[in-house]
Amino acid sequence: MAENGFCPEWIVQNWDRYVDPFFQHVLLTVVSVVIGFAIAAVMAVVAHRRRRLNGPLVGLTEVLYTIPSPAAFLLLLPFTGFGTVSALIALTAYSLNAMLRSMVTGLAGVPEDIKDSARGMGLTERQLLWKVELPLALPEIFAGLRIASVTTVGLATLAFLAGAGGLGESIESQISFKSNVVVAGGLCVLLAVALDSLIRTLQKASTPWTRARLT
């Protein structure tokens, strides 16, 4: 072992112990972001249809976002018990704010003249939403999704407080051992970067028009 506590050989030998926590971490992140996305989407459409609900809905996600995360995990224990469910609920609640905000901004940013011509050609409000407003809000929606994913990867390191495992548990278990912290922390960063570039690829594929320029 090297003086500074960083030991490559140890890492190679003990690689196995990170596999399960890593996949737990992926699961926690992806599941909570997906559920969060669905809930945020419903909230966004409701807020878009009924402008009066816009403020209260965004405010609600803001409140959820400001609860300190360890407190959130512990608060949930009496209701949902110790384990993955509590962690997922808390992480989902945290992810809502970034995604709802971006969706609301995206939908509100669709130019009036485009909506006017759509209505003038006889699109119903539902067709307007699906065929015009949502596609045009995609760049914003994807931006929110990326922020939510990266943030959730970070927050999921605290999921072990709710007994849901993840890379946070690996870090915590031997926090003074540098090799351990580097590997577990490094995997977190790697996961964040991988998710971000995956979403970025999806965004590129689904919004070719954003790169169209007058030639």
Binding site: P111, D113, I114, K115, D116, S117, A118, R119, G120, M121, G122, L123, T124, Q127, V132, P135, L136, L138, T207, P208, W209, A212, R213, L214, T215
Partner: protein, 398 residues
């Protein structure tokens, strides 16, 4: 040019949809929370196949009046009939799919290709793919864009003028019997605007749509309209008439002011050279006998012989010396410039004449053959004399 003319009411566009008559009956719009109506008891009848221009100062209710036709704005009182049927009998969505709609900002969908933009209403109506593809191709050609090059582009990849053409093509997609156009060329620079206006008038000759065209530009109104409705503040109708009538007999001070002091000059834009009873000059060829020239001179309106070539194309005005001997010599006092074309509007022709020495312009047909002579005097008579027979799209039809 009126509703009782059977040739007008039965005019069908090439695809077969008949243009619809449009009638506004005492239409009122009072926006919620406003004291004064935006449109006040407006009644208009637009015969099928004609362009009705709504014109007036900013905020006088032109857009509001137009948008009540496809129920983008709900009518407060009165009724609007399209093809004899009240618009309030239909659901707004169905109604709008049958009425072409073009706005100043065009409002193309930036996330859809040009083909998909044009296909918007056909898709809503459930046309099949092949029919849509064929129609897109046809429409792109109609608005003079190359289908191969344009189809798969996004709106951001087109110029302003091209986008405007696509806006028109999209509105024409299902061959609607009625079109609404709100300042469609308002955002285009003057040179391209003129081109788009001419192109559109040429299209209209073929399509014969009933069109409500909103503008705040009286010159555009005069150029585009078969009929013009001038609105005053508060959406009250000041005058509804054909352009020539409007220019010759403005109903009140407001109309007079709005039309401008140069009404006589504006009338020049309504008439074309072919509408004028032209003068005849003695047309002579090289080698003709002087006796024959003198004979022609006696009957002619213009007392100077015009030398033409074998095909009848003008060469120049002869000097006195040219027919002093036995035969005509090619001795010119001046060349036959400018020449004026039958389709030129009088305003352009007059500008040419003012620049020439003789103040006579030789009028030529499509083959460049001399058919007569236009003088400044004739232009003057045209302006003061009879109302021009044809206006708007009709004038370009011939």
């Amino acid at each position: 040019m009126n509703a009782s003319d059977p040739a007008q009411t039965s005019t069908a566009s090439p695809a077969g949809r008949q243009a619809a008559t449009l009638e506004l009956r005492d239409v009122v719009k009072l926006y919620p929370g406003q004291e004064e109506p935006a449109v006040d008891h407006l009644s208009l009848e637009v015969p099928a196949g004609e362009i009705c221009v709504l014109v007036g100062p900013s905020g006088c209710g032109k857009t509001t009046a137009m948008r009540m036709v496809n129920r983008m704005v709900e009518i407060t009182d009165g009724d609007i009939l399209v093809g004899g049927q009240s618009v309030t009998d239909r659901t707004p969505y169905e109604l709008r799919r049958e009425i072409g709609y073009v706005i100043q900002q065009v409002g193309l969908f930036p996330h859809l290709t040009i083909a998909d933009n044009i296909a918007t209403v056909p898709k809503l109506l459930g046309w099949d793919r092949d029919r849509i593809a064929a129609r897109v191709e046809e429409l792109l050609q109609l608005v003079q864009l190359d289908p191969e090059q344009t189809r798969d582009r996004y709106p951001a990849q087109l110029s302003g003028g091209q986008r405007q053409r696509i806006g028109v093509a999209r509105a024409l997609a299902t061959d609607p019997p009625l079109m609404l156009m709100d300042e469609p060329f308002g955002a285009i620079d003057p040179i391209n605007r003129e081109r788009l206006q001419n192109e559109f008038l040429r299209l209209q000759v073929e399509l014969r749509k009933t069109i409500v065209f909103v503008t705040h530009d009286i010159d555009e109104a005069i150029k585009m309209g078969d009929r013009i409705a001038i609105l005053k503040q508060g959406g009250r109708l000041a005058q509804y008439a054909e352009p020539a009538e409007l220019l010759m007999n403005p109903a009140d001070e407001f109309v007079k002011d709005f039309v401008g002091n140069d009404r006589a000059l504006k009338r020049l834009a309504l008439q074309r050279v072919r509408d004028i009873d032209l003068w005849q000059a003695p047309m002579v060829r090289k080698g003709e006998t002087t006796a024959s020239v003198r004979q022609k001179l006696e009957k002619a309106d213009v007392k100077i012989p015009l030398l033409v070539d074998e095909d009848g194309c003008p060469i120049g005005w002869l000097s006195d010396r040219a027919y002093a001997g036995e035969e005509v010599k090619a001795d010119l006092r001046s060349r036959a410039e400018p020449t004026v074309e039958m389709d030129d509007i009088l305003r352009d022709a007059l500008a040419d004449l003012l620049g020439s020495e003789l103040q006579y312009g030789v009028v030529v047909d499509e083959q460049g053959r001399a058919t007569g002579v236009l003088s400044i005097e004739l232009v003057g008579q045209g302006v003061h004399g009879v109302a021009p027979a044809r206006t708007g799209a009709d004038a370009l039809a011939t």
